[in-house]
Amino acid sequence: MKWLLVGIIALCNTIGDVLNTAGMKRQGEVEDLKPRTLAAMVKKIVRNPLVLGGFAALAVSFFALLSLLSITTVSFAVPATAISYLLETLLAKYVLGEDVRWRRWAAATLVAGGVFMLSF
C-alpha cells in the first residue's frame, strides 16, 4: 500500500508539473502579484485544458500524499520525490524543449541526491 502510494505520487507529480508548465507558458508571463493580475491569471486557467489536466494529476498526487502522511512519516515519500526531479528534468528537455545543459543536469542530480540523503 505504501509503495503503491509512493509510485502514484511520483508519477502524478511529474505529469502535473509538465502540463502546468506547458499551460502557463501559453498563457503569457505573470508580471506582478496584484489581485487584479492574479484574478486574470485564474480566469485564463479555468479555460486552459493543459493546466486543468495538470491540476487533475496534482490532485491525485495530493490525496495520495494525504493518505501516505496519515499512515507513515514524510520521509517515506522522499525516494519517489528524489526520482521525480530527474524524470521531470528529462521531460522538461524533451517535451517542453527547455535548454537543459550540464548545470541544470548537475543541479537536478545534486537535489535528487540531497533529497534522498535527507530521508536518513
Binding site: K25, V30, L38, M41, I71, E88, R103, V115, F120
Partner: protein
C-alpha cells in the same frame, strides 16, 4: 544599495516596486544578489528586472511551501489515519484548524508556483525551489533544536549546491508569449 542599483542598470528599483510591495518583502538581500548577477554577466535593465521579480516569486513559493506543509502535516496527524478512495473521508480533515491553515497557505503556494512557471523553465524552477528542503531542516535545527545527522547535513549541502548551480542558468530558455491555447 539603491544608489548602486541605479548606477548599474538605469533604475530598476522604480519599475520593480509593484511586485515587491504587493508581496510585502523588503528584499535588500535579493537586491544585492541581483546586482551581483547583473554586474557579472552584464545584463541589461529588462533582464535584471525580470530576474528580480522571478527571485521574489521563488522566495514566496519556498516560504508558502514550507509553512503550508508544516501546518497540513500537523493537522493530518491530529486527524488520524485516513486511507480511502472516498472523498468524504478526507472532508473530516477540514474540521481541523491546522489542516485548514495548511490548505489555505498551499493555495497561495499553488498560485505563486503557477505564476513562476509562466515566466521560468520547469528545469530552473525545480532545483531552485528545492531550497525549501534546506529551509525546513535549518528551521528545525535552529528553532526546534532537531538533531541533524551527518547524512542530513550532506543532503543539505548537496541541495544547496544544486540551487546555486541552477541559479547560474538563465531562468527562461523557451520562446516568448503565445496567446491562444493549443
Amino acid at each position: 544599495m539603491r544608489q548602486r542599483d541605479g548606477g548599474l542598470s538605469g533604475n530598476p528599483a522604480k519599475i520593480d516596486n509593484s511586485l515587491l510591495t504587493t508581496v510585502g518583502i523588503e528584499s535588500s538581500l535579493s537586491d544585492s544578489v541581483s546586482n551581483l548577477i547583473a554586474a557579472k554577466s552584464g545584463m541589461n535593465s529588462d533582464t535584471h528586472v525580470h530576474r528580480r521579480k522571478t527571485q521574489v516569486l521563488v522566495a514566496l513559493v519556498v516560504v508558502t511551501n514550507v509553512l503550508g506543509n508544516a501546518f497540513l502535516s500537523r493537522g493530518m496527524h491530529q486527524v488520524g489515519r485516513i486511507v480511502s478512495l472516498s472523498p468524504t473521508d478526507y472532508l473530516r480533515a477540514f474540521a481541523n484548524p491546522s489542516a485548514i491553515a495548511g490548505i489555505l497557505i498551499l493555495i497561495v503556494w499553488m498560485l505563486s508556483d503557477l505564476a513562476l512557471l509562466s515566466r521560468a523553465d520547469l528545469s530552473f524552477v525545480l532545483p531552485v525551489t528545492a531550497s525549501a528542503y534546506v529551509l525546513v531542516a535549518l528551521v528545525g535545527h535552529f528553532f526546534l533544536h532537531d538533531h541533524i545527522s551527518w547524512q542530513r547535513w550532506t543532503g543539505i549541502l548537496l541541495i544547496t549546491g544544486g540551487v546555486i548551480l541552477a541559479e547560474e542558468t538563465p531562468e527562461r530558455t523557451t520562446n516568448g508569449k503565445r496567446e491562444r491555447l493549443l
